[in-house]
Symmetry: C2
Subunit: 231 residues, 2 copies
């Protein structure tokens, strides 16, 4: 790829490589030759995960581990990385074999997502963790901010969110039933079942109070419904 | 927990916390109260993964992504973290509810492994990525060095390793058959099947040469056999 296009890409990434060969390698598919991007992808996958985790940890000071894990999974999934790579113009600079290119490799989501991870890994080797984190923040920062409303909404009151979700689809409200209580009076644990009769679905939640157990069950039901919606 | 035991633990970890409250929180199970370790565990999981990835990346300069991923999975699995936590004396310093403690919570592998991740997450917040990486290197460095021989052995010659594995179990050698060739003469891709008749197993590998495809198939077969051995 030309020096000019490498230069333009580094501007878009917001990271100038001390070793431009690293960026070149990160953009090289294994079909092109031995000096390809798979080891950088291995590293970049972990760099991306930590950078996103740490940004989410700061941004969502009130969210629990389950919420954070869900948001992170959404941000780092192949489809999300593919779109970032497209936006950064990777198809124009990726190196691959002629056969792979003819087969549409430069547009393939898995190849582009892998290259995105490899570029993040390359920035980590080139400039250390802080440099890589800045790159991730630059390309994903808006999405991380944008994740706010949904998570904060669900995190605070899953029962309300679930009720709204069902009403928007003209289904009746869920029912909550205590199915178990454990422990002594001052330290009880409640188990609650949340049922959505219209869909023949039920979820189970636990908590130190009836209300906490209901919220837990509602959140699990919501997760389930949203996962079904997407598939 | 006492200031003396916190102090001793920091010596064993090789990281002195500027904020000892972070370490305290990392050692607090959710049954104990609101200020528990689950968010730190979320972060620590990602810190651990990157630190191990980066140490493996340097140590195994010749290993491919598949090898690195396998070794990493082995190092960060629950059982491995549980043993580290035991060795560091976590059962003596963990905070949890009386009920959880009576039920043997302080010895439970999942609780100890989670606390190990949370402590790594706490060191990351306290001292940044480099401090957390040093902690991981201190507690896992030997195992990372020890991973060497197996991976290097398999990485270099999976066919030999597979043959040795089978012979040690008095089984006959595997057979390799080309099942497909694609592409033009100068850029062919081979697909090879590796069969182990004694076990009625077969694996399939790909490569740019017959030999590379055989090595790939042999490595997949070995992975499969070793996974079966463990389960």
């Amino acid at each position: 790829m030309s020096a000019a296009s490498l230069d333009a890409l580094q501007k878009r990434l917001g990271h100038r490589f001390s070793d431009a060969g690293l960026l070149q390698r990160a953009l090289t598919h294994r079909s092109f030759g031995a000096d390809h991007n798979e080891r950088l992808e291995f590293l970049g996958d972990a760099v991306l995960s930590l950078a996103v985790s740490s940004l989410l940890f700061e941004r969502f000071a009130g969210s629990d581990e389950g919420d954070l894990t869900r948001i992170r999974a959404h941000l780092v999934r192949e489809d999300s990385l593919y779109k970032l790579a497209l936006g950064l113009g990777f198809p124009q600079v990726l190196r691959m074999s002629e056969g792979e290119a003819r087969g549409g490799g430069a547009q393939r989501p898995s190849i582009l997502a892998d290259a995105m991870e490899a570029v993040i890994g390359a920035s980590f080797i080139d400039g250390g963790y802080e440099a890589a984190r800045e790159l991730v923040k630059r390309i994903l920062g808006e999405q991380i901010q944008g994740s706010a409303s949904a998570s904060e909404h669900w995190g605070k009151d899953a029962k309300t969110a679930l009720q709204e979700w069902l009403q928007a689809r003209r289904m009746s409200v869920p029912t909550y039933t205590i199915t178990e209580t454990r422990g002594q009076a001052h330290a009880q644990t409640f188990r609650v079942e949340c049922a959505v009769p219209a869909l023949s679905l039920a979820s189970s939640g636990e908590g130190r109070s009836r209300r906490a157990a209901e919220q837990d069950a509602a959140r699990r039901m919501l997760d389930d419904l949203i996962a079904r919606d997407k598939s």
